[in-house]
Structure formats: structure tokens, C-alpha cells
Amino acid sequence: MQRIGVFVCWCGTNIAATVDVKAVAEALGKEPGVVFATDYQYMCSQAGQDMIRDAIKEHNLGGVVICSCSPRMHETTFRKTAEKAGLNPYMVEIANIREQCSWIHKDMPTATEKAVILGRAAIAKVHLNAPLTAGESPVTKRALVIGGGIAGIQTALDIADAGFPVDIVEKKPTIGGKMTQIDKTFPTLDCAACILTPKMVEAAQNENIRIFSYSEVDSVKGFVGNFHATIRRKARYVKEDVCTGCGLCTEKCPQKKVPNEFNLGLDNRRAIYIPFAQAVPKVATIDPNYCTMLKSGKCGVCAKVCTAGAIDYKQKDEFIEEDYGAIVVATGFNPIKLDRYDEYAYSQSPDVVTSLEFERLMNAAGPTAGTLLRPSDGEHPHTLVFVQCVGSRETRDCGKPYCSKICCMYTAKHAMLCREKYPDTEVYVFYIDVRTPGKNFDEFYRRAVEEYGVHYIKGMVGKVVPENGKLKVQASDLLSNEQIHIDADMVILAAAIEPDESARSIATMLTASMDTNDFFTEAHPKLRPVESPTAGIFLSGVCQGPKDIPETVAQAGAAASKVIGLLAKDHLMCNPCVAEANELMCNGCSSCEKVCPYGAITYSDKEFPGPNRTRVLRRVASVNPAVCQGCGACTVACPSGAMDLKGFSTSQIMAEVDAICK
């Protein structure tokens, strides 16, 4: 039996107004083992803490029960207090008589009675507490970045600059992400490629960075500081280290009718391809869905023309296993599919395009070599209609309830560029609101209107009907309270953006939580915006929420600094409340191992003393305390009761049950 001290906090009037704290202290003072019981206005104050410290020393207390606010609030505070008095911090238990008692009950006798019972339960538990010491786990000084867009690249570069090795895993054949497809950037109108490609090259050349392109993360196990990932390098049927990127194969390949995803299917590429000229790594990749050699075994042209001998039709997916201390998620976004928006005729007319497609049509490296031409007939368009908020701010199921944030600005950019390059065009922008919070953003939008004469119309497009080579646009002009009709040559839809489809499975793999829109949730929306609630997982870029490039880069840097802060530590303190196997009772049945989410349980054959001085060899479980996170799943899976959880042991919980049900 422990010598227990009970401290009842008034929390000003928060507790004392509904709980008779004196009566609680008096009642608990009569409990077996309690040698000291008192109450005080604010136990968490310095004076309150001193009181606890002095009582521990004076009464030689072995356990402390504090009846106060939630343990989520001040458990750490009081543990530290106990530690200062020379008591093991885990000999402190909190009875939550504020959030779970005084604040929910109005009647004083009822609340007081409940507070006494909660106090008794805590006393019953403390009697069975044992001193616990937190172990340490080493930190693997390497980071993994999932996603090789601008967010991933920037994070990797910043971490690498601090001297830590980083691996980037990118599922596409090249890093660069969405930004590679963008022509110009707002509000400066500088060329996206011009600012991105140097960063891509820098990442490729940085000694601390390894790039796994055309690869995916297959599985992640472990925990903060000690993740273990398996990376699948998909077979590209080209030896990456041998290919020189000369591109001869991509010219000779007879399979010419493959939709070019880099240009969003606006033109075609070959079955063997390099996505674009500045790709990193600049190596060819064979598309197994179109390659006749891979499909039917007949062809082999690329292998014949490749002077480097880089083609390998027999290549298999390769798996790389690596340990990491931290993981950054930078999985980015995609525009939503518009096939359910019949009113805009996106599926009916090639001249109705998304803004990202429009980027390619304006880009010098795009399908039209930078000249704006109508996809349907290659004619120069004269009337362009931009529609904003397509799928954004929608509560219908085909849309997204959030604002995609970047559309107002890129639409202004597109409109402005059209008018600049082709002054003969009429450009209409239909908007609900124009949102321009950002440095030089509103000025940029105003320039589109004032300098470039873009027609901004407050209202929405109701329908687009392709008719006689024109797109009949019917829309409302809310300011003039009119319905207007425009015969447009092209309609450009500002499609909402959504997290990449791989995000959900990655979140599950990393045990990181997501919101209903599949954006990763941050540990705290204001104070910890670049960390996931799961320790060791960090968020960079649009995977956390819609962002433009400067914001993405800023968040990427912030995530990197958090990673650097983690990797700079040699050890992390472990949670001492972990599972423990009693080898004498374990029968080695593996039930616990099957339910452990962390793989913290291993088995070994050990010799034990048997009856009559014999030795018995038995298979028994042991828990790696650095890996165990203390969920307790094993304790219930174990039929023998050989598994127990420190700090939440079976006997402790049963003692609490007994005290409550008395």
C-alpha cells in the first residue's frame, strides 16, 4: 500500500462553486493509504505546486492524487512537480473533477459525491502505480519526401542544405509536378519553367538528395524517428543510369498515338517518352500500356536505336527499403474531373477547356508551340469566355465546398495574357467574387480590367451550347440584372482543385488524419500548421489545403525547418506507458503480434526453469519499448493475460472499475 497524498483544487470557483472541495478532501482523507489530504485555490499555481512538493517530502508520499482539471490540461505540470520533489512522475494520478464533474453538474451534493468517487478511483489506481522511466529511441537522420512537385523539391532542398540526407519519391517519370505544366506565374508573370527547372536540377545535383522518380511508397512502418519505408521503383524498362536522355528512341518509336499526359491529352506522344525537355531525371520511360514489344513481344525498335543499350524489356519493379526519421507529405493536387458538368459542354466540345489545359495551349512547349489556337479547328479564337468557380464552393456532390483559392488569380493572368498577345480578342470573365488577398494580387487583377480591358461580369454562366462552330454562352449579369448571350470561340473553365487521388492511401499508410475533403489535417490549424497530428509526419503544399506557389514554397520551407529540428536530435524520449510481456505466462501463440500496429512484438525461444529442476524451452513474446506506442490492443488479444500495459495495467483499470461501482 502506498502512502498517498490527495490534493483537491478549487480552480478558483470553477470547481469550488459546484463541488464542496473541503468535503471531498475530508472524505478522501479517510481512504485506506491516504496520509495527507488538503485543498487549495489553484493547485497549478506556483504556491499550489510548492504545497504538493512540500507535502511529498514532509509526509514521505509514495503516490499523489490531484483532484483538478483534466489530465490533458495539467498532468504534465503535476508530474514535473512530483519529479522535483523526488517522486517518480508516474506516481501521480489526476481525478478530473472539473471538465468531467463541476462543469457538467449544477447540484452541489451530486457533484461533490461524484468528485469523491472519481477521487477514490484515482486513489485505487495510484495504489497500483509503479514508477516508470521513459526510454529513449534513436533518430534516423534521413527524411523522406513523398511527392516531387515544387513543395517536395523545396522541402528536400532545405533539409539537404541543413546537411541531412533526403529521399524524394515521385510517382511520375520526372519531378517538377504541376508547376512544370504552368506557363507564367502570377502576379509577376515570370515564366514558371525558368524558376522551377533550376530548382529541379539543383535537387538532382545535391549530394544529400536522392530522387526516386517513377516510384511509389509501398508501405511505411514504425514511428517518429524510426520509420521504415518500402519504396517501389516501377519498371520503366530503361536503365536509368545508362540512358543519356538523347531522345532518339522517342523519335523512332512506331507507336505514335499515345495521349500525352504532360499536355493533358491535347497532343500525342510515343510509347517510349521523356515527358518534357527539362525532365529530371532526363531519361526515357516505356509506357507498358502502349508498347507493342511489351504487349506482344514484337517490335524492339527502341532497343535497336539506343546506342547506350539502356533499354531493358525484362525490367521488374524494384523494392528499396530505407529507414527515415521524418516523412514529409507533398502529394499535391489535380483539377477535378468535369464530366458531370454537362451545362458547360466540357465533354461535348474540344473548345471548352480547363485552365490547366489553357496553360498548355499558351505555352511555348505546348501542343500549339505557344500560339493560341482552337483545339477543334486550329483557328485563332476571337471571343474567349472564362468561367470561375467551376466546382469550387459547391455543395452539390459533383463539386467541392471549399474555395480553390488560386483560380481568381490565374484567370486574371490568362485573361491578361490573351489580351496582351492577341489584342483582337474579346475576353469575358464570369465571376461570383474576385478574391485577391495577397501581395500585389489586387493590383494585378485591376490591371487586367483597367489596362487590358478584360470584361469582368458579376454572374455565372448558366449553359454553354456548341452550335455552328461557336459556343453559345448564356449567362447572367447580376449588376445589370440581365441575361446575356455570347457567341464564344473558346470557353475556359476554372476547375476546382482536389488532393491527389493517392493521398487517401498514403494517409492510411502513415496513420495521418484527413478531413472530409481528403486534405491532410494539421496538428493545430493555427499553431502547428505544417505538422500532422501523427508525430514525425509533416505537410507541405496543397496536400494540406489549396495554396499558390509562394505559399507552397513558404510552407515547404516551414516543414523542412520542422524536419531539421527533429533530425537534429540524437534521441527522442519514449512514452514509458508501453506494453510488457510476462514471459512466465506467455505461451508464444502470436495473438498479440497479429494485432500490433507497430510490429513492436517479437518472439524468441527461451529456456525457463520447469518442474523438478528441468529446463523448458519456450517461445515467448517481447515488446520493443521504443516501438510500442501503448495502445493496448495486445493486452486484450492475449488470452493468458501475459501482456499488460504499464500505466494502464489490467489491475489498475479493474481497481478503478471497482472504486466507481462500489
Binding site: R393, T395, G459, V461, G462, A475
Partner: protein, 131 residues
């Protein structure tokens, strides 16, 4: 009109239609999509706005309410699921009911009977117009 009466009327419209006009983000897609736009004095987006503001009387006096085709295009395309067509229908009903007179009396029915008119139409018309 008295303020109280106004509030009551607004509540009635909301109750009949089941529409919450506050969901509207004033994008105007309803009006953009409306095939009867030119025939109406108040356009669908204004309907939502006026109901929200409680100015039902204006709507009730409007001729335009009878020009709505009830094609439900606005309802279909509204990004916020406000359903303006239902508001219009509700205003129509309110007009009919407020006039306090039966547009159709039981004794009138025999005269109206037409061999080509489905009985169901009469029953439903009676149900709708006879308070």
C-alpha cells in the same frame, strides 16, 4: 405592410418551399440558366434575395411568378442547392391562398368537365386552388 405580417409571410414561404435562402452565395447561375429569364420581372436570383430580405409582397405582386416554367433548371444547376424554383412555387401558392377565395368551387366542376381532360388533373387542380 406590418413588420410582423412580413415576417410571418416570409416564414410561410420558407416553410412551404423548404428552402433556406441564406445558402445562396449570389452567383446568379440560376438566372444564367433560366429559359424564361426575359419574361420575368424578378429573376430567379432576385427571388432568393427578396425572400431572404423578407420582401415577399413585391414578389406576390409580380406578374413574373406566373411565367416561371417550373423547368427546374435553376434548381438543378444551383451550386449551393438553394432551389429557387421551389420559392417561386411557394410564392404562387401564397398568392392564391392570400386572396382568400376559391378559384374553383365544387359546383363549377361539372361545367369544366371535358372528355379529354384527365380526371386526375381536376382533382389536383381542385386540391391546389381550393384552399
Amino acid at each position: 405592410m406590418q413588420k410582423n405580417q412580413e415576417l410571418e409571410l416570409t416564414a410561410t414561404i420558407k416553410r412551404i418551399s423548404g428552402v433556406n435562402p441564406r445558402l445562396c452565395m449570389k452567383c446568379g447561375k440560376c438566372s444564367a440558366t433560366c429559359p424564361a429569364f426575359d419574361e420575368m420581372d424578378y429573376h430567379p436570383h432576385q427571388f432568393v434575395d427578396l425572400v431572404d430580405k423578407g420582401q415577399i409582397e413585391k414578389l406576390m405582386n409580380s406578374k413574373g411568378i406566373w411565367n416561371c416554367l417550373s423547368c427546374f433548371a435553376c434548381l438543378e444547376r444551383c451550386p449551393r442547392m438553394v432551389e429557387p424554383a421551389k420559392l417561386i412555387e411557394a410564392v404562387r401558392l401564397a398568392v392564391i391562398r392570400q386572396q382568400g377565395q376559391n378559384h374553383l368551387k365544387p359546383e363549377q366542376i361539372p361545367d369544366l368537365l371535358d372528355e379529354n381532360l384527365p380526371q386526375q388533373a381536376i382533382t389536383s387542380a381542385f386540391r391546389k386552388y381550393a384552399k
